[in-house]
Amino acid sequence: ACSGPQDGDAKPAAGDAKPAKGGKLTVLNSDTQSDFDPARLYTSGGGNVPSLVFRTLTTRNREAGEAGTEVVPDLATDLGTPSENATVWTYTLKKGLKFEDGSPITSADVKYGVERSFAAELSGGAPYLRDWLIGGDSYQGPYKSGKGKKTLDSIETPDQRTIVFRLKKSVGDFPYLATQTQFTPVPRAQDTGTKYEEHPVSSGPYKVVRNTNDGERLQLERNPHWSEKLDDQRKAYPDTVDVRSGLDSAVINQRLSTSSGDDANAVTTDTNLGPAELAQIGQDKSLKARVGVGHFGYTNYLAFNPDVKPFDKPGVRQAISYAIGRSSVINAVGGSSLAEPATTFLPDQKAFGYTPYDHFPAGKNGNPEKAREALKKAGYKNGLTITLTHSTEEGEMGPKVASAIQQSLAKAGITVKLKGLEGNAYNEKRWDADGSPGLFITRWGADWPAGYPFLAPIFDGRQIVKDGANFNNAKLDDPAVNKEFDEISGLTDLDAAAKRWGALDSRIGEQALTVPLYHPVYQRLVGKNIRNVVISDWTGVLDISQVAVK
């Protein structure tokens, strides 16, 4: 994070003693790892537990804070060589890479791993491969059931260590994409289709010894064929890792704070501290020392559907932007330690190209006067009545946030009626290009820390999805903006690209198509024996490839 008053990033919890190898690390999680197939996983930067088993062409830099948003080579020797205007990306594998059974990792294995992610049997994952690889939109995977060709010609493996990807358009972000688990090598001979996840073949420092109950419990052990010398990212201190999931988040935090028995050597990769726990920890210094703070590119915002009246009027959207009282919204989701007010759509991190702006200053508690003014200009002198749609499930899109918004808008003379929808219904509604509500609460997270995956699905007119999940709720289809998207995404100079993403964000923001509310902050508690706590701004989660228990 480059802004905000937080006290730096997490430091090793247990003093300055050097982390050492050995011991058993326990991971207490709430979500079960029910998908453990690299083709199905949809993780940012290769995931956390998965990245102990799956190595990818590139990976995220395993450092705390802002440094952690960088992409670095993993299986490949470098971040890839772009050619032909960044439509062709060539990678070379490091020498001597081996699977857990000692057989060599070849470029064909990487290609096969990508190919199988196209199979319908192994649905899931991010859409980029399909969108960018030549022939990706029609390819149906290497299996018998898929129609058409069984191989994808746009991936070439001229030799055992070289792999070439041919894209439809220029993509500067390809190194980021190559961090995803679809780029994990999978030996074709050992592919068991949907059963592969029960025992995926490891290329990382640990291998799966036992996968109980569809990812309920994963027991990992050192992979003897993994070489520290060929992997400068993963530290792999503990000898074994025991991932137990399906736990209640309150219980996880309680166990970590009690830290008795094995729990002293425990961490969590998916549970953060809730408001009540924070309130409690606030009084306890020794506990506070065990809390790490993390950021992940995420924005919670109000979305408009300008097809619905009166949100077609920019004045109305502006009025709402002026009227919003962010501090009560933030309190409703747990207060200032769990959320930071957002006035920009892009997360406040340099990697995304964050450029601060506040086109409709509302202060902490909203600016009713300005809002009334804007309303009057739009023709609503006597206020107006609108409907806000939200999820009935407690949480970031839940009723408490909705009520907070309702009350701050009321001050500006806008009467808000609340309409709650049950979880699935709500998702279906908000992703429905034609039928999405006029005003609703939603959020967006990054697939990797760059502007493209954050902005394109929301504002690129060509990403309006008619009969599927649509995220461009405002249905913005501005040729100038579209052109800008194409231009920036072709840049291989990521720093230069970031600057332009920030500018684009600010430009789009003027149209008040969204009302950014806040960026969440994550507070992670670890067991008392845990050392070398690293929380990067890429994932916001403690990186278990770095922790040590000794």
Binding site: A332, S403, L418
Partner: protein, 329 residues
């Protein structure tokens, strides 16, 4: 007097004084029990508070919906500022963490929904359960088979599953509390029905039921006059247990987002969101818990008193005040 007089009505004897003392006797016996009076009074107060919620909150000058950002400590998870969960002259019972909404107002308004929904659902459950249980126990073998199997299935149906399905399928305009009553009531009668059937099976073999049938009573009458009075004890006891579990069920439904629609408060909802706060802000959890507990206790004690009052064999025991003598006779 001739036999003719005996068998033809209206002749001879003077008109009868007073109607059957049944209901009145029960009432009198109830009034004589301090536990019944106290629990009845507690319930009456709760009910009144629920009904007069708007009045009470007007008195306190608060409403259950307004956020008070200034009253919570944003930096530490939104905990209420000040001691005892932010209790003050304005906020009698403190405020809700995160939002600063007035807890007193939310509690009394919540009582409306909770008591109403739970009581409505209980009544429905008991009514359906008794009807089905009796029909199964007394009807033909076929009817028993079908009804018992249907009961099995009703019992087997995980409430939450159907509740989720129903509440999402039913139109949004349908009043939520009513929907909850209907869903909870119509899905959760299996227990009552089983208990009633089991009891009725034993009862129906007794001579007094045979006598009533011989006397020309139709099944409905036999049920009303002979069986229901004997079933009342287990049913009332069961209902007194069902009621609190319905309040808790409403909590679970609210927790899953299919209960009453926020921001309308209910005890269940308050409880389920409060759980994690029990160390940071104990009052937030304690208040709805305590109210729930008092309600449960009052219902149980009252249920027990009614059960005892319904039993004429207990009557002598109560009135004569042989308190000091051990009941072990």
């Amino acid at each position: 007097m001739t036999v003719q007089d005996v068998l033809t009505p209206g002749a001879g004897a003077p008109p009868a004084p007073g109607p059957a003392a049944g209901a009145r006797g029960v009432w009198r016996r109830l009034r004589g029990r301090p536990s019944a009076v106290v629990s009845g009074a507690v319930l009456a107060v709760l009910l009144l508070a629920a009904l007069a919620a708007p009045l009470l909150t007007a008195l306190s000058g608060q409403d259950p919906y307004t956020y008070h950002d200034e009253l919570v400590d944003s930096a530490s998870g939104g905990a209420p500022q000040g001691s005892f969960g932010g209790m003050s002259g304005e906020h009698w019972l403190g405020v809700e963490p995160g939002t600063g909404r007035d807890l007193f107002a939310r509690l009394v308004h919540g009582a409306r929904v909770s008591l109403l929904v739970a009581a409505g659902a209980t009544v429905l459950q008991v009514a359906i359960g008794v009807a089905v249980g009796l029909a199964a126990a007394l009807g033909s073998r076929w009817a028993d088979q079908v009804l018992s199997r249907v009961t099995d299935v009703m019992v087997a149906l995980p409430m939450l599953v159907l509740a989720i399905a129903l509440t999402t399928v039913v139109s949004d305009d349908f009043p939520r509390p009513l929907l909850l009553v209907l869903v909870m009531g119509s899905l959760n009668w299996g227990g009552t029905s089983r208990v009633v059937r089991a009891q009725a099976l034993t009862l129906r073999g007794l001579d007094f039921v045979a006598a009533a049938r011989l006397g020309g009573s139709r099944p409905v009458r036999v049920v009303r006059r002979e069986l229901l009075p004997s079933l009342a004890a287990p049913v009332i006891t069961y209902a007194a247990v069902l009621l609190p579990s319905n309040i808790v069920l409403e909590a679970s439904l609210s927790f899953l987002g299919i209960g009453v629609r926020p921001p309308t408060p209910s005890w269940g909802q308050m409880l389920s969101t409060a759980t994690t706060w029990f160390r940071a802000d104990p009052l937030y959890v304690l208040l709805p818990s305590a109210l729930l507990f008092v309600t449960v206790l009052a219902f149980t004690v009252l249920g027990d008193a009614v059960r005892t009052a319904l039993d004429p064999r207990e009557a002598g025991r109560l009135r004569v005040g042989t308190r000091k003598e051990k009941t072990r006779g």
